[in-house]
């Protein structure tokens, strides 16, 4: 009893409240199946913002996959008869200086953003996580060396390092993807190393290592369930920032080469001129909105996932409870008022 009490108290008031509520449930937690927990997790995603995020992400994926079928125009075909047309029913988002339909280009552009975003983040995980685990496992000077290199990479503002790397590799989609990938590696290496160190402190891992069991395999086996959740959240949020980085690099002329000129960032870069700013606002506005929605979608999804995985963060009241509280407050208020008018002397004391 005493130990239990202490552990709860250390976490402060909120956890105590939490504890009061679920003391009896806690014995049931062990029995909960994986499936049950997964369902609970899904039910916690039922938050309007998260749902918007999911809808946007699914919409993006559909736009990317279905672009060839739903795009009304060819994204790269030049049609000088319809240059710089403002938005209309024919051209939903207007046309650019070469008469290309901006709506169609944005649909196709989703392919590039999603490709670069997902591939670079997956690549960063594939490189970063084993690196972090290896670093933690080896320890000693190898660990120090790897982590120092990661620190030095983090000493650059990320877009600046990405510029330098993309510049060295040379223009092209692969260059941007690799640049964004390399820049994100330290994040995953750090997360993985931290969890690996924590898991390695566990007695069973130490025991396994002491009798010469293949430690790396054990660590991988035990670490993955532990870091899967934080990595997944980080990945979702990172896809958003990868899309932003891609847009920035493309804007600087380091992005996709022709014929992939329908990349969102590159479109803004290509269209950006004094004339466009003063007269052809749609050319600059819609590709940017596409970027905003894409990044927002991933961010909403990432935030939602994180909150769903960490139920402590939420303090939401059920509708019934809200009503009870409202009634209660009214009641208290009325009481207070009647009290004030009747027995004022006593209150002042």
């Amino acid at each position: 009893m005493a130990d239990d009490d202490r552990a709860v108290k250390n976490k402060g008031l909120d956890s105590e409240v939490f504890h009061i509520g679920v003391t009896d449930l806690s014995s049931g937690v062990v029995e909960r199946t994986r499936m049950r927990r997964f369902l609970d997790f899904l039910s916690r995603l039922k938050n309007p913002l998260t749902i918007i995020g999911i809808v946007i992400v699914i919409g993006l994926i559909l736009a990317a996959v279905l672009a060839p079928f739903i795009a009304p125009y060819n994204p790269i075909k030049i049609d000088l008869t319809s240059k710089n047309l403002p938005p209309s029913l024919d051209h939903l988002f207007g046309t650019d200086g070469f008469g290309r339909d901006i709506f169609s280009r944005i649909l196709y552009g989703a392919q590039i953003s999603l490709f670069v975003g997902i591939v670079s983040v997956l690549g960063a995980v594939v490189v970063g996580v084993p690196l972090g685990i290896f670093s933690a496992y080896r320890g000693g000077y190898i660990d120090t060396l790897i982590m120092r290199i990661m620190d030095i990479m983090l000493a650059f503002p990320s877009i600046i390092l990405a510029i330098a790397i993309a510049m060295v590799i040379g223009a092209g989609m692969h260059a941007v993807t690799i640049a964004i990938l390399v820049v994100s590696v330290p994040i995953y290496a750090r997360i993985a190393r931290g969890s690996a160190l924590a898991v390695m402190q566990e007695t069973y891992i130490e025991a396994a290592r002491a009798i010469g069991a293949p430690g790396v395999r054990i660590i991988f086996k035990h670490i993955f369930p532990n870091i899967l959740a934080p990595i997944l959240v980080e990945m979702t949020l990172d896809i958003g920032s990868a899309v932003l980085s891609l847009a920035g690099l493309s804007f600087l002329g380091l992005g996709a080469p022709p014929p992939y000129t329908y990349d969102w960032g590159r479109m803004i870069s290509d269209y950006f001129s004094y004339q466009a700013v003063t007269r052809y606002w749609w050319q600059l506005t819609f590709p940017g909105l596409a970027i905003v929605f894409c990044v927002l979608g991933w961010n909403l999804l990432g935030d939602g996932l994180r909150d769903a995985m960490d139920p402590k963060l939420r303090l939401k009241l059920s509708k019934a409870a809200k009503k009870i509280i409202k009634d209660l407050k009214q009641k208290q208020h009325a009481l207070k008022r009647s009290f004030k008018s009747n027995k004022k002397v006593e209150v002042v004391n």
Binding site: L13, A164, V295
Partner: protein, 338 residues
């Protein structure tokens, strides 16, 4: 306070390997550029052969790599960042950077002011009125803020406040030169020489770029302050403060704010890097002749030495500004100093 000084010195010593590491990375990147350095130095045909020969000698391009690295370091510590090959052929890069730097500093300062003066109060209020309308609006606003590309926001601001409502200039028209030029930062020089035209010019020119650049960091800081404030409000010492009879405001502003700023300081430090990186894009959009613009030009014209020098310079500025943030951190949190 004695602990604080010792802490600063310790941090300074720890900086040395990081700075060397950053230099090593830029050096490696320089040498990973496809082709012979001599080829790209002279290959564009913009430099006369004698000049190329001189460069080969200065950088020891005929020497083994590690000797080249030490030559590179030696040059760097003498303040020699190399020679521009195509943006401004033959010009000393150090000079280019020194001329451009004050513009970048000015822009970054404006944005940092916006980030701190708006971000921290917004985060605090949002946390204080958790789940209220204010909170929800702030949260959604911050979410949109972190999702916007800096350069696009700049362009949108140009369209709205430069074209639709022509309040601010959209192109760099040049700022009235103040009588006294000490720092090269117009706002500060304007105040020193009491030249109002310079001050107003500076604000007019930097308002839109600073908002565009600051928006992202502002949103990140708001989110961070909000969440760390909420965390701190759950701490035991907040309950102690309330039990003492502190009012809600005293609890939040005296007891919680400083504690919640401790983790936020780290984020603000990281955001200075974000601002410096974003400055590259913002300066390009607003045609501000700062380092970012210099780097963009260099990228467009494949001026490798200039790009690398700019990257190195920004990284070192970032490291130094983080040192300042660390010191601030130690000041805020007495536990760190020992």
């Amino acid at each position: 306070m004695k602990g604080l000084y010792a802490y600063i010195i310790r941090r300074l010593i720890l900086l040395i390997p990081v700075v060397l590491g950053v230099m090593l990375i830029t050096f490696i990147l320089m040498h990973s550029i496809p082709g012979n350095p001599v080829a790209y130095l002279g290959g564009s045909g913009k430099l006369p052969p004698e000049a190329v020969e001189k460069l080969v000698k200065i950088y020891g391009l005929d020497q083994p790599l590690f000797i080249q690295f030490f030559l590179y370091l030696a040059n760097l510590f003498q303040g020699n960042l190399g020679t521009s090959i195509s943006v401004n052929p033959g010009a000393n890069i150090t000079d280019l950077i020194v001329t451009a730097f004050p513009h970048t500093v000015e822009l970054t300062i404006y944005s940092a002011i916006i980030m701190i003066l708006v971000g921290i109060p917004a985060g605090v209020i949002s946390a204080k009125k958790r789940n209220s309308l204010t909170d929800n609006v702030t949260r959604v606003g911050a979410l949109i803020g972190v999702s916007m590309p800096v350069f696009w926001l700049g362009i949108m601001l140009q369209i709205i406040f430069g074209v639709v409502f022509p309040i601010f200039p959209i192109l760099w028209a040049g700022i009235h030169e103040p009588a006294v030029k000490v720092t090269g930062i117009y706002l500060i020089d304007g105040f020193i020489s009491l030249d109002f035209r310079t001050i107003v010019d500076s604000i007019m020119h930097y308002a839109l770029p600073a908002i565009a650049l600051g928006a992202l960091s502002l949103s990140i800081v708001t989110r961070m302050v909000r969440s760390s404030m909420l965390e701190v409000l759950g701490e035991d010492y907040i309950r102690t403060a309330r039990a003492k009879g502190c009012s809600e405001n005293a609890t939040i502003y005296r007891h919680a704010l400083r504690n919640s700023l401790i983790p936020a300081t780290t984020v603000i430090g990281l955001q200075i890097g974000g601002l410096l990186g974003g400055a590259v894009l913002t300066e390009t959009v607003f045609a501000i002749p700062g380092i970012g613009r210099l780097i963009t030009d260099a990228i467009m014209r494949s001026d490798y030495p200039l790009v690398m020098a700019g990257v190195l310079f920004i990284a070192i500025i970032y490291i130094l500004s983080n040192l300042v943030v660390d010191v601030l951190y130690a000041y805020l949190d007495p536990r760190i100093r020992y």
